[in-house]
């Protein structure tokens, strides 16, 4: 598959003032030349092929937006090479803009007071879309979502869900090679989330559009992404299939118990007996995280049963959310 996006050793540094405290410090800052270099993105390389949906994840402040801004040409990398559909984004910003679509979860890029169809017509002119392609696209849209509900409505009168839907449709309208979706389902209800995901999936499949999705909602990731890239402190932590990630942590299972009698007493006993698993507890349950590559869940349960009377129990698979959380918290990544 031809790569749509290529990044080689991309680094982005910002110069920020070392701020001092207090009124005196603020006054000193006015004349200060005391800068420090903040490395927001640190040596990131990746190739993304046509038709991929990549989940781009990381905690707040990890460097995600900085990366996206470099891909869209708003920022120039400090060092490294970047190509989007053959263009160097920051050098040919207008040309690059023709090949990409961008959606921000909570900020509409459409004309606020115009009905959606009029926004579409203006976009048709801006992107110089051929009339046939434009009509085909509208036909495709009509087959995917209920267009009657939104097409004649001014954007300002739309619900957040309808607005997001419209923004996504607008971003795909000129059939770009790549679409960037930043938190597309933020603030939406469950059924709208599902509709948005179905739409993104269908458009990606139909048009082979590459999609880069940044999100904190693991539901989006599970529903859409086969590949995920995780960064933190500007550094790449993970870049592989989502299955691989689960497999890697899939050996973990959580055994949840509710004992008869005093819980903390029981927890102590379990901690003393079960040595090759980590034990923790909250208000309801005692959780025993078992690494199945070392020992079996049933064996652990057997050990516990001998010392504590169990009232209730559950067995949980580790979820994507927990896996990601473990990685953010600096959990073990030894591939």
């Amino acid at each position: 598959m031809e790569p749509v996006l290529q990044m080689k050793h991309i680094t982005k540094e910002f110069k920020v003032l070392n701020r001092r405290e207090g009124v005196k410090g603020t006054l000193k800052d006015l004349f200060s030349r005391d800068y420090k270099i903040l490395r927001a993105v640190d040596d990131i390389s990746m190739d993304i092929s046509r038709g991929e949906i990549v989940g781009y994840l990381g905690p707040n402040g990890a460097g995600k937006s900085t990366t996206i801004k470099m891909m869209t040409g708003v920022l120039e990398p400090t060092s490294g090479e970047i190509l989007v559909g053959g263009n160097v984004p920051y050098k040919h910003r207008t040309k690059n803009a023709q090949e990409i679509g961008v959606v921000f979860g909570q900020r509409s890029q459409l004309w606020w007071s115009l009905p959606l169809i009029e926004s579409f017509k203006i976009l048709k002119d801006i992107y110089q879309i051929e009339t046939k392609d434009y009509n085909d696209m509208l036909e495709l849209y009509a087959s995917l979502v209920n267009m009657d509900e939104i097409i004649k409505k001014p954007v300002r009168q739309m619900s957040l869900g309808q607005r997001t839907l419209s923004d996504i449709l607008a971003a795909f309208l000129h059939n770009p090679k790549m679409v960037f979706l930043d938190e597309p389902t933020i603030g939406l209800d469950v059924s709208m989330k599902a509709r948005i995901r179905t739409l993104i999936h269908a458009l990606n499949k139909e048009k082979q559009t590459t999609v880069i999705l940044t999100t904190h909602d693991m539901g989006d990731v599970d529903a859409l992404c086969r590949r995920i890239v995780i960064i933190d402190h500007g550094k790449m932590l993970y870049d592989n299939d989502i299955e691989h990630l689960k497999q890697f942590f899939g050996a973990y299972r959580t055994l949840k118990l509710r004992p008869f009698g005093d819980r903390s007493d029981a927890e102590e006993k379990i901690k003393a007996t079960v040595t090759d698993a980590s034990v923790s507890s909250d208000d309801d349950w005692i959780s025993v995280l078992v690494d199945e590559s070392k020992t079996g869940v049933m064996k652990v349960l057997g050990q516990i049963q001998e010392i504590v009377k169990i009232k209730d129990m559950q067995l949980e698979e580790i979820s994507t959310e927990e896996v990601i959380k473990k990685i953010y918290e600096g959990g073990p990544i030894t591939q």
Partner: protein, 267 residues
Amino acid sequence: MKKKNFRFYLRLYGKILAQDLKSKMSYRADFIISTIGMIATNIAGFVSFWILFRNFPTVNGWGYYEMLFLYGFSLVALTPVQCFFDNNWSLRMYVRDGSFIKYCFRPVNLFFYFQSEVFDIKGLGQLAFGIGTLVYSWTKLAIAVTPLAILKTILFLITASLVMVALQNAAAATCFWITNSFYVLDLVLRFKDYAKYPITIFTPVFRFVFTFVIPIAFIAYYPSLIILRPDDVGVLTWISPLVGGLLFYASYRFWMYGAMKYSGTGF
């Protein structure tokens, strides 16, 4: 991809404008109230002007109708900045909260795209007022109506508009570097009020400032000399179309320089 020339942008602007007007008309109360407000503002401006001249029949050798001419000239000259570049007033808000970034992803000129979003219809009333005042004072001054005189007036009105647009662009673009550019914009707006007086009434220091630092004298005074005092036209009047063009271009480059450097908020 076809080349995006002047005709492309003109057509695009026309389409956006037509849609925008259509949707504005649909908010009838808003439309009527802002029209009334606009008329009241203009009447108030005119009344204060009239009171001033009941007490001082001439200002430094400038008669009532000459002053009226200057006033009308500046009103017409200020119309384009009001109608087409009003989004400059919101620029600092977009820049501060990071939403300016949404303008950065379209394959069209960033300055054009940003300004095309807002058309302020209130400017049209000001235009009507200005033209009325201009025609009235013109007839009262008994200036001959020749094609050349009209051509000159139009050319110098365009010049004056360009100067005003340039001043506002430059003032608005300061928000790419400073957090609250409102004061800069406000300052320019206040100075704009002095544009309708002949520059000779000011002290030499302000004359210098209004000619070379904040060139508001190019908005009405220097250009209108060509009609009002054809025997008294200095070099500054003759070069004013050039000054207008240059200032506009410089302010556009300055605006774009700030906008291209812009990278939003957050990491």
